[in-house]
């Protein structure tokens, strides 16, 4: 997804000399071409996230369209007050781009597990949260949001995510059913969508047909009431803490829309995670992989 991001940003910069990319001393092997092509629209801010985010706000207030690129929790937590006070308070056009959503940096430890960002970013007024599921949706999110002159957060996977969407997406950011089924609805977001699609294939062989929907924009949420009300059972899958994540957002929507749908959350436990390992390993460990999802669905359907 990071390559899709930088390639699309490069295309945008070709059309707009007010695009400015700041990196927090990260992006080796990703950002060099952008820097070479647009040296006047690029800066490495060093290992100093507070200053980086405040400076991004200053540049945006001077008319630039600023993208701040970093990884994991660094562009969220270290500089949260700068995001709240300098960017959101001033209603500025700054896009915060975090690579390595969820457990992408699984072996690097809990410091690098980006699993609380949805909760934190959702609390900020005027913040639009993009959480694309694959490289195609990443490009789409970046392009569609370019005209939006308000704070944005991009929650992106690291690399190697398979393409899920075909290149002719339905209207962004509408909800798209990636698999067909009426037995149960899986609502998910981000790169873990792929696990849900695999689970759907496994379940189909057992005669269970589930619909999988990946939600690309978490805030503001374009809740598709008509789609959800077709189902008695909804499973919310996310590579994020069960506290403050998509599960909470959806449960609130169900309640406010008067839907009595049975809701189960499948995310990471609300605790410090000491487990280490690859993203694949950790997804399996926490039962967020295709096997775990299929098990949870069967449980919900009483099979």
């Amino acid at each position: 997804m990071r390559n899709a991001f930088i390639e699309e940003l490069t295309l945008l910069a070709e059309e707009d000399d007010k695009i400015f990319l700041i990196v927090g001393d990260l992006g080796y092997g990703v950002i060099e071409n952008f820097e070479k092509r647009f040296p006047n629209q690029f800066l490495n801010a060093g290992v100093a996230e507070q200053n980086m985010m405040g400076m991004a706000a200053g540049l945006a207030s001077a008319g630039y369209k600023v993208y701040v690129y970093s990884i994991g929790n660094f562009p969220v937590f270290r500089c949260l007050e700068q995001i709240r006070n300098d960017i959101c308070y001033e209603r500025l056009d700054v896009s915060i781009v975090s690579i390595g959503a969820g457990l992408s940096y699984g072996t690097l430890g809990y410091s690098h597990h980006a699993i609380h960002d949805i909760g934190v970013m959702s609390a900020l007024p005027g913040m639009t949260i993009y959480s694309p599921a694959d490289p195609i949706e990443t490009r789409r999110a970046l392009r569609e949001s370019a005209s939006l002159q308000t704070p944005k957060y991009f929650r992106l996977g690291k690399s190697g995510e398979p393409e899920i969407f075909n290149k002719t997406l339905t209207e962004f950011p509408n909800w798209t059913e990636l698999t067909n089924g009426n037995d149960l609805l899986v609502l998910t977001t981000g790169a873990i969508t792929n696990e849900a699609i695999e689970a759907a294939a496994v379940l189909k062989n057992l005669g269970i047909e589930i619909a999988v929907v990946a939600i690309p924009v978490l805030k503001p949420l374009a809740f598709d009431r008509d789609l959800v009300r077709r189902f008695n059972n909804v499973l919310v899958l996310e590579e994020h803490s069960e506290s403050g994540g998509l599960g909470n957002i959806i449960s609130e929507k169900l309640a406010l829309n008067g839907l009595k749908t049975n809701l189960v959350k499948l995310g990471l436990p609300d605790q410090v995670l000491d487990e280490l390992g690859s993203q694949k390993y950790l997804r399996h460990h926490f039962k967020l992989d295709a096997v775990g999802i299929a098990e949870k669905v069967k449980q919900m359907l009483g099979n």
Partner: protein, 279 residues
């Protein structure tokens, strides 16, 4: 920046500083009345900063928010009463607005906002935000080839914040010669002196080591402030303005409680009678 051109002649500097001194006297009176009427605080910090801000506000034509040029960022946003008073007496906001300071439904709150004050580029209130933001503004002007200087007012207690030192590193690295900081060095912070709290000295040497152009002046001498703030340099500049918290009102000077208190009617009358005489 016009400040330095005006400074070129002796008559010029006298003219300009007589104007800034007049603004400062009126601003002190207004700030005292505002904190009395609203029962709001930070009069000590306001009195400390008023001379610095008066010199900047009268020395250059501050560009309105959204326009790049000579611009003001007040990082010590809690000195709002003093800031609004100076900006009103130097013609940037209506004088009549001052009566509403910190009142219910007012547009002038206890920390400066860009939303309601046309020449304050960043709403502040949490310390350590003004300088990083100004680095962005100054960098934008440099990249876009636009003239103009960013003037940032920091408190000395605010120098505890690490974000300032992150910004200090990058500012000199980027050779932003269009950025000037003034530190309101009154040696007092929220509970005790800065040196008892977290020692800042040697402060000038710290900024020198970060490769800034450093000047230290009497922060209540308009001539010294004018000369220092508008000096030429090919580096980012910092002026350490040695000030007295609560300056101009004998019983508020160097007093921690006046960081928080607002004057009673009797104290207001006494304070107003003292304003102007110490200058």
């Amino acid at each position: 920046m016009v400040g330095n051109d005006i400074f070129e002649t002796k008559t010029g500097v006298l003219l300009v500083t007589s104007l800034s001194k007049q603004v400062a006297i009126e601003a002190r009176k207004s700030a005292l009345k505002m904190t009395f009427a609203s029962k709001a605080s930070h009069i000590g910090s306001s009195l400390s900063m008023i001379d610095i801000l008066s010199v900047i506000a009268t020395g250059v034509e501050l560009s309105p928010n959204g326009k790049l040029g000579d611009e003001l960022i007040i990082s010590k946003g809690h000195a709002a009463a003093g800031a609004y008073a100076v900006l009103a007496h130097s013609g940037y906001i209506p004088l009549s607005l001052l009566d509403s300071y910190s009142m219910d439904g007012s547009t002038l709150g206890g920390h400066v906002t860009s939303t309601h004050v046309p020449v304050i580029n960043l709403s502040t209130g949490s310390l350590g935000h003004g300088l990083p933001f100004s680095v962005g503004r100054a960098l934008a002007k440099k990249r876009l080839g636009i003239q103009g200087h960013s003037f940032v007012i920091l408190s000395d207690g605010e120098c505890d914040e690490g974000s300032n030192w992150e910004a200090a590193l990058l500012t000199s690295h980027l050779e932003l010669e269009n950025l000037s900081v003034v530190v309101d060095r009154n040696f007092l912070q929220s509970l005790k002196s800065t040196e008892e709290t977290v020692r800042l000295e040697p402060l000038a040497e710290k900024w020198l080591a970060f490769n800034w152009d450093v000047a230290t002046v009497d922060g209540h001498s308009h001539e010294e402030l004018h000369k220092a703030i508008f000096r030429n340099s090919n580096k980012p500049r910092i002026t350490i303005a040695n000030t007295v918290k609560g300056y101009g009102v004998s019983f508020m000077e160097n007093s921690v409680p006046w960081h928080y208190k607002s004057p009673s009617l009797e104290e207001l009358v006494r304070a107003l009678s003292e304003i102007g005489f110490s200058q």
